[in-house]
């Protein structure tokens, strides 16, 4: 009974913190989704890869949480260091994505009014998986709360299962992102999405560098 209660707690925590998760993933997910082809299938494929990689990030975190046992009380300095690295990597992947989406667009737009985005499926999946994995390592408050509970469980398998159930709870909130497939794609949408990706990448890069240098994020 206690086991069910524990996983029920994970599911509830995931469902309750879903808005925080989509908020954290939004800057990465929304523009990159907008550079995909319109339609349900490409979006389903992209989201699946993104979420699968995010699950991998979660499980990796669960292993570390259980091994260290005290991840939640991770000192501010290494935590800021980790977040700094994650932000810099996210910025790098986003910049790469923005450039490659442009290259694909330029190639596919030559004689078609409708923009055909996305090069080889493998690179598309690699991009979404990289972004999913990095956002999976994002140390947002609900994620840290789940880490605390996972660290208290009796075995690593239990910690992994706890995070998997937590992941399912949060993932429900990502289903509406499939509706982005209904947004018609044209040169304007793709260009706006690419420009937004560059801006977000620069923002993350600035935050990441500031964290790595041990500076306060703001100068107030």
């Amino acid at each position: 009974m206690a086991v069910f209660a524990s996983y029920g707690e994970a599911l509830t925590l995931g469902l309750a913190s879903g808005p925080a998760c989509i908020a954290a993933c939004g800057p990465v997910l929304v523009p990159s989704l907008l550079t995909q082809r319109a339609g349900f299938r490409p979006h389903a494929r992209y989201l699946s890869a993104f979420l699968a990689a995010r699950l991998l990030g979660y499980l990796l975190f669960a292993v570390v949480a259980w091994e260290l046992g005290a991840l939640a009380s991770m000192l501010p300095a290494p935590r800021a260091l980790m977040m700094g690295v994650v932000y810099c990597l996210l910025a790098g992947v986003l910049l790469w994505y923005a450039v490659s989406a442009g290259r694909n667009c330029a190639h596919a737009c030559e004689d078609s009014k409708l923009v055909k985005i996305g090069g080889p499926k493998n690179s598309e999946i690699a991009g979404s998986a990289s972004l999913g994995f990095l956002t999976g390592l994002n140390l947002c408050p609900p994620f840290v709360a789940a880490g605390v509970r996972a660290a208290q469980l009796s075995s690593m398998a239990a910690a992994l299962l706890f995070f998997a159930v937590f992941f399912i709870g949060t993932s429900v909130w990502f289903i509406p992102f499939l509706s982005f497939g209904c947004i018609a794609r044209n040169q304007a949408v793709i260009t706006v999405a690419r420009m937004a990706m560059v801006l977000i990448a620069l923002y993350y890069l600035a935050l990441g560098i500031a964290m790595l240098l041990g500076k306060k994020a703001y100068g107030y």
Partner: protein, 387 residues
């Protein structure tokens, strides 16, 4: 550029008669007096004088719009005055109260950050998802500058005039419009049309980042007008970097590029609030239309548009782009009277002057209420130092 300035110009309509113009101006005169002139009330003498000057100023400009049939050049006088006098009044007040233009963290925690309309689009998603306002200001200020007041005024007016807000109320756009008016001709004429997408990208990025990081991302890092309003009280290197970004953006987008292009480049290529306002052009009943039977097309309207809201393709379609600010520059520039003010749902052949009048009454009433009060405040400060 397929511009032909030698096209036969249709005779401009004769100026309105003085009596008729005075009658049309009367409601605006009354509204101006109601707004600014309160003799006997507990206001300072200099404020009363500034209010009276503003009332006369706003009424005179409206009179000239009615008399000449031209909109843009008279509106521009108001708009540039607003752009110049806003920092005067704002900086004076903030320095009087706080002693510095830099906002320290203590003020933010206390919720005493003056609210401006720029972060409105950034507040929507966090408020909808978490019922949290990601702005360090008070929602229920009694000063009249509180967020509730600002959001309420903005919403009511913007539903009526759409993106006209950016030409008749925004207290930032006047500076660049003034700078753009200085050179006789543009030094840079070939402008990549893709740059028009940047405001949408800034809007998308800032909305998403504000939601993710729970901060008004635009105000923190990208607002060029921090340079002339309320900068970051820099207490470390990052704060210094923030201020350098504000100054560079202001210098580039508000001073240098408008001077070189004769366009409102910050509004056209950067402002996320402007992009957000564009959406309301879909709701507003007023729009600019091109009578294709009269149009040649000479593209003088496209060249005159300060906001890059006309393209060759849109002129061919007989309409402006979504970003149109309804400033009237295109109407004034058209030699054949093909560009007209228009009310949605009416025929293009319908007389355009009633549409122009209806729009201008709404827009000018807003300009008096919102921009005029800022002008009066700035004037009062100048009088305070001069007299």
């Amino acid at each position: 550029m397929a511009t032909d300035a030698r096209l036969p110009r249709l005779a401009r309509p004769a100026p309105r008669g003085i009596l008729r113009t005075l009658l049309l101006t009367l409601p605006i005169f009354v509204w101006s007096l109601l707004m600014f002139f309160h003799p006997g009330a507990n206001t300072e003498r200099l404020s009363t004088i500034a209010g009276l000057i503003t009332a006369i100023f706003m009424t005179a400009l409206f009179y000239m719009m009615m008399r000449t049939g031209s909109t843009y050049r008279w509106r521009r006088i108001f708009f540039v005055s607003l752009g110049i006098l806003f920092p005067v009044g704002f900086i004076y007040n903030i320095v009087s109260v706080r002693g510095t233009m830099g906002i320290p963290i203590e003020e933010m925690i206390a919720g005493r950050t003056p609210f401006c309309f720029m972060p409105i689009p950034l507040l929507i998603l966090p408020a909808a998802l978490t019922r949290t306002l990601v702005f360090p200001g008070s929602f229920s200020s009694v000063s009249g500058h509180g967020m509730a007041t600002m959001v309420g005024i903005w919403l009511a007016l913007t539903l009526v005039i759409g993106k006209g807000w950016c030409s008749y109320a925004c207290f930032f756009g006047g500076i660049e419009e003034g700078v753009a008016a200085i050179p006789p001709r543009a030094r840079i004429r070939k402008l990549d049309p893709r740059w028009r997408y940047i405001p949408w990208a800034v809007l998308l990025a800032m909305v998403l980042l504000s939601l993710a990081l729970f901060e008004p991302a635009y105000c923190m890092w990208l607002c060029p007008f921090k340079s002339v309003s309320e900068y970051v009280a820099a207490r470390n290197t990052v704060g210094l970097v923030q201020n350098v970004i504000f100054i560079l953006l202001f210098a580039g987008l508000v001073i240098v590029l408008p001077f070189l292009t004769k366009k409102r480049t910050q509004c056209s290529w950067f402002c996320p609030f402007g992009a957000f306002q564009s959406i309301f052009n879909k709701i507003s009943i007023f729009e600019m239309k091109i009578d294709k039977e009269r149009c040649k097309p000479c593209l003088l309207c496209r060249n005159a548009c300060p906001n890059l809201s006309l393209s060759k393709e849109s002129v061919a379609r007989g309409e402006t782009l979504l970003s149109c600010m309804k400033c009237g520059a295109c109407v004034d520039a058209c030699p054949r009277g093909a560009m007209v003010w228009h009310i949605k749902g009416t025929g293009i052949q319908a007389k355009s002057e009633p549409a122009r009048l209806m729009f201008l009454y709404g827009a000018w009433a807003m300009a008096i209420m919102f921009g005029g009060s800022i002008i009066a405040e700035g004037l009062a400060v100048i009088l305070h130092f001069v007299v």
